[in-house]
């Protein structure tokens, strides 16, 4: 596998190759559609670079193998799709409590329950609110192209090590199975990362180490929670990412992430082409947690009109409301259950809302 050159790759394969280039030496997973191409890729590639691949007996086992590999000092990852990610929440909560790095890829599918295997964005709440039990957060990265999936996979390992925290990559069945040209990033040593002074290697010439999440004393447990909270505040401060598209003159801002943002771009371009007076732009959150609330608060100074589009019945829209704190007018268009509307379909709904708002603005 040569890097630096542009090649045509599946999203899942690009994520796998980027992980390997980022120094990931351990992958543990369990089959579930639509992300099987990632474990398949890793089963082939990791042995070539001296890494470890295990197809585990369950999602529970695979996330806990990640925990073990992480505490032993390796860069480790797992991936799954929605029902499997639910099972991994136990391990993610433990790793958040123990402050262990890990990268978890969720190629979302329609739910709830077994749902279907079509692309969806219905795990937003689960991903951005911690997901498992306890008071914790995990950074959530939401790529919208195969290139960005590769780039963010690369970034995810650095963020995980920097903050000693699990990091989620939230894609969907469309992104995972899409083939696009991609340049896989090449790793340079990141000197800014803290030394792993917590890992277990055997207590040779040093006191024994203990990595745990059990803290029976409530005062100590409260202190630990506040310590985690301060870390999450640092992440909010430093790691919030988003992209603005055609927002310079926008009277209406579409808010969408991942595959939905790709569709929204198409719809915006379509409407702007049809009518040169159309002023619609896009704010695309790249990190879902931390949510780019500031970008929205800045936008509301120029445009009071927001159109939130998700492949769900409405989850991120709650963060938009929280960010705007009552300001602006928010319209929601959602397609849950694995339905992926075309840019033309979305454009119709967008146009209806845009022109209605425009009329009321003129009055």
């Amino acid at each position: 596998m040569t890097t630096k050159t542009k090649q045509l790759m599946y999203g899942t394969h690009a994520a796998g190759e980027a992980a390997i280039q980022a120094g990931c030496t351990c992958y543990f997973g369990y089959p579930i559609t639509p992300q099987n191409e990632l474990p398949e890729y890793m089963s082939r590639r990791l042995p070539e670079v001296g890494g470890i691949f295990i197809q585990a007996e369950s999602e529970l086992a695979s996330i806990n193998m990640v925990l073990g590999a992480s505490v032993a000092g390796a860069r480790a990852m797992t991936s799954s799709s929605s029902p499997g990610i639910s099972l991994k929440q136990e391990g993610i909560s433990f790793m958040a409590g123990m402050e262990l790095p890990a990268v978890i890829v969720n190629i979302m599918r329609g739910g709830p329950g077994l749902g279907n295997i079509a692309p969806a964005q219905s795990d937003y709440f689960q991903a951005t609110r911690g997901g498992g039990h306890g008071d914790y957060r995990t950074p959530v990265l939401a790529p919208a192209s195969v290139q960005e999936l590769a780039d963010l996979t690369f970034l995810a390992f650095d963020l995980a090590d920097q903050y000693r925290n699990p990091v989620l990559i939230l894609g969907d069945g469309m992104l995972g199975q899409l083939m696009e040209p991609v340049v896989i990033p090449v790793r340079k040593k990141n000197e800014a990362l803290p030394e792993k002074d917590y890992i277990l290697t055997g207590a040779k010439d040093r006191p024994a180490r203990l990595v745990k999440s059990l803290i029976l004393d409530v005062k100590e447990m409260e202190d630990h929670n506040w310590k985690l909270h301060r870390k999450y505040q640092r992440i909010e401060q430093n790691e919030t990412r988003w992209e603005s598209y055609r927002m310079e003159d926008a009277e209406m801002a579409v808010i969408a992430y991942g595959t939905a943002a790709r569709i929204a771009r198409g719809a915006i371009n379509r409407l702007r082409k049809e009518d040169e007076n159309v002023r619609i732009g896009l704010i695309r959150p790249i990190t879902l947690w931390p949510f780019p609330a500031k970008a929205l608060r800045d936008a509301v100074k120029k445009t009071g009109d927001f159109f939130v589009f998700e492949l769900s019945a409405g989850q991120m829209v709650e963060d938009v409301r929280l960010a705007l704190e009552g300001r602006g007018k928010i319209h929601f268009y959602g397609r849950p259950g694995g339905v992926v509307p075309t840019p033309a379909e979305l454009a119709r709904s967008m146009a209806r809302h845009y022109y209605q708002s425009k009329r009321s603005r003129k009055k």
Binding site: T25, C26, F28, I52, I54, A56, E57, S58, L60, A61, S62, N64, M65, V66, L67, G68, A69, S70, V71, A72, G73, A74, A76, E90, G91, F94, M98, L200, T201, G202, A203, K204, D205, A208, R209, L210, V211, K212, S213, L214
Partner: protein, 246 residues
Amino acid sequence: MKKVYSRPKSLRNVSMHYCPGCGHSIIHRLIAELLDEMNLQDQAICVPPAGCAVLAYNYIDIDMVEAPHGRATAVATGVKRVRPDNLVFSYQGDGDLAAIGTAEALHAANRGEHITVIFVNNAVYGMTGGQMAPTSLIGQKTTTSPHGRTVANEGPPIRVCELMAQLGGPSYLERVSVSSPAGVRKTKAAIKKAFEYQIKKSGFSLVEILSPCPTNWKMDAMASCAWIDEVMAKEFPLGVIKEVQC
């Protein structure tokens, strides 16, 4: 005068929280003695369970990582694959290993992971207050089988060593008990052998230890030991269950 008995170096100089007559303190000590004798203290990594023995890290002075309930062998797999030259062992109770963690335990065994499992079978959930365990005996009264376990309602107790012996992966499976001085000596020998299997990278090893829980059995220490010998050992026969020459 010659000193013939002292605290092992690998055992911290603190008092244990275990109830009087509990087997965990004996088993902890045996592990610590072996870590000293085999010179393994600075190589060992232990994965303690959810349960009374989660606090093993307060007593055994080695690197440790907690696992979610039942997942110790999955965590140990991750650690051992990354650090193949360390001694990696899990320490698990019957609920942890034979109920919630059955899948992880059987599959780690079947993969022949080069890890050791110290499996403490006391036929109850100890820490949570004496509920029925997968290894509780037929007729045994617990807080969740108040009229005694029945085959009709809960099924018979699970014999972990015999179950694992059907798999290709395990190399060494032995059942022992800490109900008598002779049993304690055999237990130490079994753990030593299991560690040796791991050091030689000869596959998965597990030592099942029948261990008293006087508090939840509502017996005194002597009666608990007698119950292990007279009742428990009939359901869970002692001895080497599987041994593949390493």
